[in-house]
């Protein structure tokens, strides 16, 4: 259970807390279901679960402005939910169905929604770092006040492209917030085994990029940090780096024996679980009664079940889809031996 913070004055309203609670609960239940379905071999491919990291998705959603863009890596089931996508479109994408948010053509690692400014999950580690700066470049070019929230893992920061991008993004004062979802592991490799500088907020220092570390188990802290960083970028001051310390409760993917970490370590983070923290605050404030909580749980359970049914009932992409969406025009002369 999370620590009691009774009588602490809260900076956020009841509405904000309820939204966070519902968002995090949906992500949690959705992902638990994904894990179960994957084990039942209802869908194939990779399945990287987000469980434990939900405060980041809930926090960016409340902190961002309409019009801001999002780009992330392959651990991307929760980001579209945070942006307000109905979970059935994420589930259908996992199933590779034509009703999925990427028409069943991307699968688990490639959630896209132009409508919701979700510029993708990306499977090549670090690929989204320069693209995020490029999205920001276009916003600046077009004179908007939008920023791009560019998410990456702690493993991804080791790609050289990060440094090239940081330099140009600072040089050109691009409205981008680089957000490291630092769960301390890249597959089986801890941050400490890949660097002498384990404080990742310092990664931008040689480019004079401001950075800070953030408690990623606290949705309040995440919200505040992203809001501050995004405002900084929005006002024309250039990029900001956030090293958000979080934890994934599950393995890297579904086939990870997790020998690289201890049960105690996992427990330490579960004790700070973002879902319990938010719910505790709500209960302490008396904003919800037990019956209300049960009702919310039941509604979300229904929503997740509806999503599974939607995905299972949806059709696979038609065979003709093999040759669509590759070029922007329909009459490309493919080689047909």
């Amino acid at each position: 259970m999370a620590q009691k913070t009774a009588s602490k004055k809260l900076d956020f309203s009841k509405e904000v807390y309820l939204k966070w609670y519902k968002d995090i609960l949906l992500m949690r239940r959705f992902e638990e279901t994904c894990g179960n379905l994957y084990l039942q071999q209802k869908f194939g491919g990779f399945c990287h679960l987000y469980i434990g990291q939900e405060a980041i998705a809930a926090g960016f959603a409340s902190a961002m402005h309409k019009g801001d863009k999002i780009i992330t890596a392959y651990r991307d089931h929760a980001h579209p939910l945070a942006l307000g996508m109905h979970p059935k479109y994420v589930m259908a994408e996992l199933y590779g169905k034509s009703t999925g948010c990427s028409k069943g053509k991307g699968g688990s690692m490639h959630m896209f929604s132009k409508e919701l400014n979700m510029m993708g999950g990306h499977g090549i580690v670090g690929a989204q770092i320069p693209m995020g700066a490029g999205i920001a470049f276009a916003e600046k070019y077009n004179g908007t006040k939008n920023v791009c929230l560019t998410f990456m893992g702690d493993g991804a920061v080791r790609q050289g492209a990060l440094h090239e991008t940081f330099n140009m993004a600072m040089l050109w004062k691009l409205p981008v917030v680089f957000i490291v979802e630092n769960n301390n592991y890249a597959m089986g490799t801890s941050v400490a085994r890949t660097t002498n500088v384990t404080d990742l907020s310092k990664l931008g220092l040689s480019y004079d990029m401001p950075g800070e570390s953030v408690d990623g188990m606290s949705v309040e802290a995440v919200h505040n940090a992203i809001k501050k960083a995004a405002d900084h970028a929005r006002e024309g001051n250039g990029p900001y780096l956030l090293d958000i310390r979080t934890y994934r409760y599950k393995g890297h993917s579904m086939s990870d024996p997790q020998k690289y970490r201890s049960k105690d370590e996992v427990k330490e983070y579960k004790d700070k679980d973002p879902l319990s923290q938010v719910l505790n605050t709500i209960l302490e404030q008396g904003w919800l009664k037990d019956a209300d909580v049960q009702k919310i749980e039941a509604d979300i359970k229904d929503m997740v079940e509806e999503s599974v049914k939607f995905a299972e009932d949806s059709p696979m992409p038609d065979e003709s889809e093999l040759y669509t969406d590759i070029y922007s025009h329909d009459d490309y002369p493919y080689i047909m031996d």
């Binding site: 869908f43 194939g44 491919g45 990779f46 590779g96 169905k97 069943g104 053509k105 991307g106 699968g107 690692m109 490639h110 499977g123 090549i124 580690v125 670090g126 493993g155 991804a156 080791r158 790609q159 050289g160 890249a186 597959m187 089986g188 490799t189 085994r193 890949t194 660097t195 690289y260 696979m316 992409p317 065979e319 889809e321 093999l322 040759y323 590759i326 493919y334 080689i335 047909m336 031996d337």
Partner: protein, 326 residues
């Protein structure tokens, strides 16, 4: 003879060469403490220690280049890429540095390095994670490109690759690591640049390589039931290409089908077909045909995957087409 897995054959090759030569070391993501993302290097950290079995950060360009530099300075690195899709980030060091060094230094600096890892599609991993790189690297003078199709070849070829004095691109597959095959105890080498006649026949020549060889051999079994004896050539090495073995076979069978798991455009299959029409034109009784992946990024869903890659039925049909039986 004993049977071992493909991954064990690779491991034996590396272990034997590392015992034999102190200058050989292994480096890559998750190769040491995690025992390899696909368990190829299981136990190697225990035997050789962290100086010789080295975990890298996710920094393909950097560690590939470090490998090239180390090779220029007397070591013999084995650089593992978790898959070849990620080695695209390292392509600069493979193509611009490793492949060019000996020539541009006027013969002073050779680069004895092996780049290895999983290649090609491995199920529902979507387009970026499903690419075959034979043709990409075969295009580049200065590189050698090896594509073992079974555990026996994997071991013998990898040992030759490690002993080779030039950069070698070694293409494996996540889908082959669990395959079992006969591998004798003790040491043997398979020469680079020599194709293997995997099955003798006189009706038609099928040229293939790598993981899709399994499909080809199954198709050849099917065809044999109809009395069609295929000669199956497993190229094993893509560059240098053993033209002689292919031409000799085509002169005997007068027909050829190429089965290539990568895209059709500017592919290994194009090169094989070109060489055959150039060197055995008068012997051909039918055009050279090929089965390849469709000319599309690799799809995600099972129903599309099935039509995107060569299948047993597809190869059987193609052979019959070449024989004018359909």
């Amino acid at each position: 003879m004993r049977t071992i897995q493909f991954r064990e054959a690779l491991r034996e090759a590396m272990n034997e060469e590392m015992r034999r030569d102190k200058s050989v070391f292994l480096m890559g993501e998750e190769v040491a403490e995690y025992n390899g993302a696909y368990k190829v290097s299981q136990g190697m950290l225990d035997e050789f220690g962290p100086e010789r079995v080295i975990d890298t950060p996710i920094a393909e360009l950097g560690f590939a280049g470090i490998g090239v530099g180390a090779a220029m300075n007397g070591l013999r690195p084995i650089v593992e890429f978790m898959t070849w899709n990620f080695a695209i980030l390292a392509a600069d060091q493979i193509i611009n540095s490793a492949a060019k060094m000996l020539q541009m230094s006027g013969g002073q600096f050779n680069v004895p390095i092996v780049f290895r890892g999983g290649n090609g599609q491995a199920g529902q991993l979507a387009a970026t994670h499903s690419q075959s790189f034979e043709a990409f690297y075969a295009h580049v003078p200065g590189l050698k490109v090896l594509t073992p199709s079974n555990p026996y070849d994997a071991k013998g070829l990898l040992k030759s690759a490690i002993r080779d004095n030039d950069p070698v691109v070694f293409l494996e597959s996540e889908k082959m690591y669990g395959d079992k095959g006969e591998v004798p105890e003790g040491e043997y080498l398979i020469p680079i640049g020599k194709a293997n006649i995997a099955r003798k026949g006189d009706a038609i020549t099928i040229v293939s390589f790598g993981k899709i060889m399994k499909v080809v051999l199954e198709a050849a079994d099917e065809l044999a039931k109809d009395g069609i004896q295929c000669e199956v050539i497993d190229l094993r090495t893509i560059r240098p290409f053993d033209v002689e073995t292919v031409i000799e076979s085509v002169k005997k069978t007068n027909r050829c089908v190429v089965v290539d798991e990568s895209w059709p455009y500017a592919s290994v299959s194009s090169e094989v077909a070109y060489r055959i029409q150039r060197d055995a034109f008068d012997y051909l009784d039918a055009p050279v045909l090929r089965a390849t992946q469709t000319d599309t990024p690799f799809p995600f869903t099972p129903n599309l995957i099935e039509i995107a890659i060569p299948t047993v039925g597809g190869v059987v049909r193609l052979v019959k087409e070449s024989l004018y039986l359909v």
